[in-house]
């Protein structure tokens, strides 16, 4: 692996992270229930690693990313971040000043390059904003730093005085990346950074993210719903369903031997750019469960093809089934599921 993954000590350790949003009703705004957007998430990210986080809309991927950075306050759980200056800190418990210091090192890239840039600010103000807010640079120094960042992401420093409307979607995403990288962080949450972009531009941005990871020694939590993009960029992939992590494994392991039926269904559902006939896909029936009123037992059981009695009553544990391969399924040990790799092999065997 060219990007150095430090196996010894994790850069980020998430332990039993929860984010519940209260549902309020009536005149007195009584709390009548909770949307369990993120429910008991635990994982680690090593330094220099890219962890992909996939799942369907509403499964809590974005909320997880935001809770880790404390863009929103998590309801409970620990997020241990190894800060180069402060050492190991628990992000949800930090005081304001310390949080500001830690924010230099953990930053975010947003999904929508149109909504995430203020149209009334110039690039200098946008990219310089974190430097100013965190008290890193000002005046001429700030300008130099912004110019350097723009060059790093492949934009001309002369564009500094322009406004975002003068740029295309791909260029705007570069501006967003420059802003995130300006304070020279260690860890980035990339929240669907390419899903709003066209394929040819998407490839450019993915290459840029990979180059930056190598040159700046970055660690990514890469949130996306496109499995091929996630497979391309991630060392390990985590799958979420209704606020919970259902599977976590190294990329090639996950795509070869998925252990959770939901992962299998996701892989079967992706439309593949190959016109050769393929085996009948696994079509899930029904809809994603409502996180305010989840089903009993395993959340996936009403849609699962392999459901047995225990699945309806008892929630499975998230356990390490094989070394480095975690799954949350009662039948993880006895099912033999079809991964994306098998689907591709079968398809490739078909005559043209």
């Amino acid at each position: 692996m060219t990007n150095q993954v430090n196996q010894a000590e994790p850069l980020l350790e998430v332990d039993a992270l929860k984010k519940y949003f209260p549902i309020k009703r009536g005149f007195l705004k009584r709390v009548v229930g909770h949307v369990k957007a993120v429910d008991d998430l635990s994982f680690r990210i090593m330094e220099g690693e890219t962890l992909g986080l996939v799942g369907e809309s509403g499964c809590g991927k974005t909320t997880a990313g935001r809770s880790i950075l404390r863009a929103i306050n998590p309801s409970s759980g620990r997020v241990i971040f190894r800060d180069p200056v402060l050492g190991k800190v628990n992000v949800p418990e930090l005081e304001k000043e310390q949080l500001i210091a830690v924010r230099r090192n953990m930053r975010m890239i947003f999904q929508d390059p149109y909504a995430s840039l203020n149209p009334r600010m110039t690039l200098l103000d946008i990219v310089g904003a974190p430097l100013r807010a965190l008290g890193i640079a000002r005046g001429k120094e700030l300008e130099d730093r912004v110019a350097e960042m723009l060059r790093v992401v492949g934009l001309r420093p002369e564009y500094m005085r322009r406004y975002p409307h003068a740029f295309s979607g791909g260029q705007r995403q570069r501006i967003g990346i420059a802003r995130a990288l300006a304070p020279n962080p260690k860890f980035l949450v990339c929240d669907e950074p390419v899903s709003a972009l066209d394929v040819s531009v998407q490839a450019q941005i993915l290459n840029l993210l990979q180059d930056l990871q190598k040159s700046m020694g970055l660690t990514y939590l890469f949130v996306a719903h496109d499995l091929s993009v996630v497979a391309h960029i991630s060392n390990r992939v985590a799958v979420m369903y209704v606020g919970k992590m259902v599977e976590l494994a190294p990329t090639s392991e996950l795509f070869t031997n998925p252990l959770h039926p939901y992962t299998e269904a996701l892989m079967s559902a992706i439309p593949r750019p190959d016109p050769r006939p393929r085996e009948k896909r696994i079509l899930l029936t029904g809809e994603v469960a409502n996180p305010a009123n989840p089903p009993s037992g395993c959340y996936f059981h009403p849609r699962c093809n392999y459901c047995i009695d225990i699945c309806r009553t008892e929630e499975p544990k998230f356990e390490e089934v094989k070394p480095g391969h975690f799954a949350k399924c009662h039948r993880a040990h006895d099912l033999h599921l079809t991964g994306a790799v098998d689907i591709m092999k079968n398809q490739a065997a078909q005559s043209i």
Binding site: M1, T2, N3, T50, E56, S57, S168, G169, G170, Q171, D198, V199, S200, V201, Q202, A203, Q204, L206, N207, Q210, D211, Q213, K214, H225, L227, S228, V229, A231, H232, I233, S234, N235, T251, S252, F255, T256, A265, L266, S268, A269, I270, P271, R272, P273, D274, P275, R281, L283, L284, E287, V288, A340, V341, M344, I352
Partner: protein, 358 residues
């Protein structure tokens, strides 16, 4: 025109030009688009945003409103009546480009012979009318049924799109349905008059993969049942591979390549098509590669802004096979390179310059 072929061809678009006259300049949204849609077949249209895919569809529906205008070209619709595949039927040729967009003739085609499924199921339906009312509107209008009969047809239609509890959904409002169910309702609406052409404009882009898989499966089954042709617009090459039998690739308002589905993936000819295909991350490579720093191929540069008009081939500034003095001077012809394989590129034209001079 070849009389023999006319039986399989449903719609023929020739050199269509739809321009938008804005204060900042003229946007040539569709600029010389050639397409043929065959009866009962699926034509996929791919291209990046702003390449004119949707505007071609809107032009065919005559839904272009000022400042947009269809300034040239023909859109021939070979009408044999509804879904009659019989060869004996007389074919009536209607040039949709010449019709009055609000006239009686166009209104009897739109929503009846040619109907459309839009990208956003939320915005395609009116939030203040029930699902049933919106579906029966077209049925009452085009099939001349009364309200009660239309209700029957609409409920039957909802059942055909595998909507659970169709008689209850009939009285629901769109906000009560989930995204996937709403898209089913929109499809039911589009199919309620048994069109001979269904235009699907990115119908699954706003949906999740598992829901998308359900909708794609549904559309294929409905095509088998109803036998309509589908013009499927998407930017997702994976969806194209699953749905289409023929593909047209568009770039800056022009069709740059049209051929069958296998040739587009296994023998792409236009440099843009090749670039597009190689820039998608391949799952096989990604899964087997240990090295995560493997770079993707990219098409250099980006789509020029819509006001520019380039001399020669519109793709030449980004093209890896650019020929100086040819590609930047002369507009390429639409040449046939194989049976049913058309490319707009100088590389495949035996004498590109001479023709232009002559």
């Amino acid at each position: 025109m070849n009389e023999k072929q006319n039986n399989d061809i449903l719609v023929e678009i020739k050199d269509l030009r739809t321009y938008f006259y804005l204060a900042e300049g003229v946007v040539r949204a569709v600029d010389g688009c050639n397409l043929t849609i065959k009866r009962g077949r699926t034509l996929g249209i791919v291209g990046e945003s702003g390449c004119g895919k949707s505007m071609t569809a809107y032009s065919l529906m005559r839904l272009i409103s000022p400042p947009g205008k269809i300034v040239g070209g023909d859109m021939l619709f070979y009408n044999t009546g509804k879904n009659t595949v019989s060869s004996g039927a007389t074919t009536e040729v209607i040039n949709i480009a010449k019709l009055d967009p609000n006239g009686r003739e166009m209104r009897s085609i739109r929503g009846n012979q040619i109907s459309m499924v839009f990208q956003e199921p939320m915005t395609a339906m009116s939030p203040v009318l029930t699902v049933g009312r919106q579906i029966s509107e077209a049925i009452q209008l085009h099939q001349g049924l009364d309200k009660k009969e239309a209700r029957q047809v609409a409920i039957e239609m909802l059942a055909r799109v595998r909507m659970p509890k169709p008689d209850r959904v009939f009285d629901d409002y769109p906000f009560q349905l989930s995204g996937g169910m709403r898209q089913r309702a929109v499809i039911a609406m589009a199919l309620s008059c048994r069109p001979s052409l269904l235009i699907a404009d990115e119908p699954t882009t706003a949906l999740d993969v598992t829901t998308e898989a359900q909708i794609l499966d549904l559309m294929r089954n409905l095509q088998n049942e109803f036998g309509m042709a589908i013009m499927y617009i998407t930017h997702n090459l994976g969806v194209i591979a699953e749905m289409a039998e023929e593909v047209a690739v568009m770039y800056m308002g022009k069709v740059v390549e049209q051929t069958d589905i296998r040739s587009i993936f296994f023998n792409p000819q236009h440099p843009y098509t090749r670039g597009l295909l190689s820039s998608i991350p391949q799952l096989d490579d990604a899964v087997t590669a240990v090295d995560k720093s493997k770079r993707l191929n990219v098409i250099k540069g980006m789509v020029p802004d819509p006001y520019t008009r380039l001399q020669g081939c519109p793709f030449h500034p980004r093209c890896p096979d650019f020929i100086t003095g040819v590609c930047d001077k002369f507009e390429p012809k639409y040449v046939q390179t194989d049976q049913d394989h058309f490319v707009r590129c100088h590389l495949y034209d035996p004498n590109p310059v001479e023709k232009e001079v002559a």
